[in-house]
């Protein structure tokens, strides 16, 4: 485990979270949220929790993104 890398990915996660909340385009928010999941998967890998990282990469980064995009597709793209 490399402490500076852990800090780097934690900071990236916080940046992604802030931008995902800040943007008014829901599709952009979903893509940023996928990036957030990806960074957290790497973060779990660095901590040695490979099983969790696996689940996060498959479910968080891929499937959740597809589900959110489908949900946006059925509704309106703008937030409020």
């Amino acid at each position: 485990m490399i402490p500076s890398l852990v800090t780097l990915f934690l900071v990236l996660m916080v940046v992604c979270a802030v931008f995902a909340l800040g943007t008014s385009d829901l599709l952009a928010a979903v893509v940023i949220f996928g990036a957030f999941s990806f960074f957290s998967a790497i973060f779990f890998t660095l901590l040695g929790a490979l099983d969790v990282a696996f689940t996060e990469a498959a479910v968080g980064a891929a499937i959740t993104t597809v589900f959110f995009v489908s949900a946006i597709y059925r509704t309106d793209r703008k937030a409020m």
Binding site: L47, L50, D51, A53, F54, T55, A58, V59, A62, I63, V66, F67, S70, A71, Y73, R74
Partner: protein, 249 residues
Amino acid sequence: MRLLFQRFGWVPLVAAGAILFYAARDLPSMGDPAAPAAVHVSPRYIEKAQEETGAANMVTAVLADYRSYDTLGEVVVIFTAGLACLLVLGAFTHTDTGSGESDGEMAYSFGSDVLDATIRMLTPFIVLFATYVVVHGHTSPGGGFQGGAILAVAVMLVRLVRGGAPGLKLSSTVTLAVASIGVFVYFGTGLTSLFFGRNFLDYAALPLPYEGGHLRELGSLSIEVGVFIAVTAILVLIFDVLTAGAEDP
């Protein structure tokens, strides 16, 4: 009042964050051998998991064997979530589920030659990897949940690019039935050991010609396969329900 919320909404947020950071200083530091979690339970698992359950990956040993009843609950939760999605969103898809596919083409596909060639290359490897993750979950990271998610990704990828017909188009009733089979495999393993006179989900009672860790390994492999089937079917079901009513942009 609304303006007040907009202007000063960050104050309680910052206060809550400060309290959490303050409280986090009392947590044991990462990898601390004197932390409560590392003193009682962990040494027992680290010393005995390999010989008792036959699983080199201790996470699988805990999830599929020591805490199997907990995992059963998780599978039922996922099953219920899929059922709820079907009940809530199914009203929109009522007209075109079942046999109603006009020409088997979902209106949601992004077909192009590049995407088509790419998924033809990728899909076999994704399916193979999903199977590997499930079967090899005892010695390397992975298991039923992860393998099921990866296989569901493969099915979704084909459906997104090629439309419904080549991507194993199933009606939601069939998908739900497959998911029920997965949950049933899990319950069935537990009930079999109950039937042969041991506790629910005690794999040592399974009527197979093996002993000790090897028998327990087969028992947890059986429930992992149940989880795998259930998770794949439920994720595909949710995807189908979400995209069924979509029209071409």
